[in-house]
Amino acid sequence: MAKYLLLKHYRGAPAAVNDVPMDQWEPDEVSAHLQYMRDFATRLEGTGEFVDSQALSPDGTFVRYDGEGRPPVTDGPFAETKDLIAGWMVIDVETYERALELAGELSAAPGAGGKPIHEWLEVRPFYGEQSTATG
């Protein structure tokens, strides 16, 4: 089994096909979308492939060290062009193909007009544990 991060962006990913802000959907379309996401996670728990899922608030700040005895410097929030993570799901699956398949299903979550969003999700493999057989 190998772990993959399915990363969802507020900004920074290529535009989705059905790209309409959620507050412009019909209220029922919002509910249908949330239900799809819940059902997806429940199904992956059932198949033994679900690890974790978290969502992030959009209010991010960049922080860096600014030298001894000085408070850290902060910057942001940034303008539209910057990358902004919305949340992620971690899955543990047999193959890379399975990770792509699941990301594709997640990207098919319904949006405005009840049609799939076709949202771009980033699939990132985790580094595995060092194998005891080869180490």
């Binding site: 535009a15 309409v20 507050d23 019909e26 209220p27 379309e29 509910s31 239900q35 819940r38 608030s57």
Partner: protein, 394 residues
């Protein structure tokens, strides 16, 4: 067997060990070990005297632990000579344990963790699960908290207000994992009420019971948040509500008002209304005035603005809101609500979308997004059948 019974005995048993001379940290560890044996063995073989059983086993665990540490030999000899406490002392011990675990030198998170373990008798694993952190992290938090209070005298009196704040924090965490922290906070507040006679303890208990009574109505099918005005009031637990009424009336009769009594009174006025239209908003505003006077809290002022909006109209509500910092949590949501009531759906929709972006949790975010979507859909319908330029992605 009553499954919570061994946990209920934990504070009193820790008290016995401390009175016999054990330091708090070692006594607490020993009682946790005894508790693990109780949970395993009692269902098949319940003891006739559960507290005596726990004291005996915990004391043996404690002695085993200090025997393993020869440098503590002398203390062991001293403590074995200590007499057993009398029956009246268990009550005081329990209260002292609450004070110790909520000691002002502890951070709120440490006080919560220590209270759940030493007063509530939960395991570190259960507490870690409830707060969604790894077990070793929670174990460290608890042992650091024990070190922090190690110099505090066990019999030192404390301030009940600090204990109440800790219990309120526990309650607000709700439930995740297999521990229902709201129910646990109520149990611990009930237990506190039996060992101390304080009107704010009764006030907090009344408040928690009211909130808990509404819990079945607060979450709709598919897990969505149902706001107070839309809740099915027949789902409210009338038994818990009437228990809260009695507690609050007895507390208020003592004429020493505090913030939890005031909050419980506000919750009571909501609970008294069989339909949301029958809510006595004028009285609720008066209680918020009391709460603002008692706490000077900006959150109380924000909630007061909502109540003013209901009692005197949305314009009055917006006026009450105008002096408050827009960075306050839920400020945008309150402003959105009042603007919608004031007949300005454009502003309301914009503010609901803004509120969704700064929501503190997902159910609230989703609820606020739906509110924005509802208003935007109504605005589109007014403009005509075409989905129009508002549909363009931003």
């Amino acid at each position: 067997m009553n499954e919570s019974l061994p946990r209920e005995l934990v504070p009193a048993v820790i008290g016995v060990l401390v009175r016999r001379g054990a330091d708090f940290a070692a006594a607490e560890d020993a009682v946790q070990d005894a508790l693990v044996e109780a949970v395993r063995g009692w269902p098949d073989d319940p003891p006739r005297d559960p507290k005596g059983w726990l004291v005996t086993v915990a004391w043996r665990k404690y002695l085993d632990a200090i025997r393993a540490d020869t440098s503590r030999r002398r203390r062991e000899e001293r403590v074995e000579a200590e007499p057993a406490p009398g029956p009246g002392e268990a009550r005081d011990d329990t209260l002292r344990l609450y004070f110790l675990c909520a000691h002002p030198s502890l951070t709120p998170a440490s006080a919560v963790a220590l209270t759940l373990r030493a007063v509530g008798g939960l395991t570190t694993r259960q507490i870690a699960q409830a707060y969604l952190v790894p077990e070793p992290t929670m174990a460290q938090r608890i042992s650091r908290a024990k070190r922090t209070v190690s110099g505090v005298r066990f019999d030192q009196p404390g301030d009940v207000a600090t204990v109440l704040r800790v219990l309120y924090l526990v309650f607000n965490e709700g439930y995740s994992g297999d521990v229902d922290l709201s129910a646990e906070a109520i149990r611990l507040t009930r237990q506190l009420a039996t060992v101390t006679d304080h009107e704010e303890v009764a006030g907090l208990l009344a408040l928690l019971l009211r909130h808990h009574a509404r819990r079945p109505a607060r979450t709709g099918r598919d897990g969505r948040l149902v706001p107070l005005a839309e809740q099915d009031r027949s789902l409210w637990d009338t038994h818990l509500i009437s228990e809260g009424v009695d507690l609050l009336q007895a507390a208020l009769a003592r004429d020493r008002l505090g913030e939890f009594q005031a909050q419980a009174a506000i919750a009571a006025l909501h609970a008294d209304a069989p339909r949301v239209e029958e809510t006595d908003w004028v009285q609720i505003v008066e209680w918020y005035d009391e709460l603002v006077r008692l706490t000077d809290s900006p959150v109380a002022r924000l909630n007061r603005a909502v109540a003013v909006g209901e009692a005197d109209g949305p314009r009055a509500g917006l006026a009450a809101l105008s002096g408050l910092d827009p960075a306050l949590p839920r400020h945008a949501a309150v402003a959105a609500y009042l603007h919608e009531r004031d007949g300005d759906p454009q502003t309301a929709a914009r503010l609901y979308a803004q509120a969704a972006r700064s929501a503190p949790n997902l159910p609230e975010r989703d609820h606020l997004t739906r509110q924005a979507a509802r208003l935007n859909a109504e605005l589109r319908a007014e403009r005509g059948p075409s989905r129009g330029p508002a549909r363009r992605a931003e």
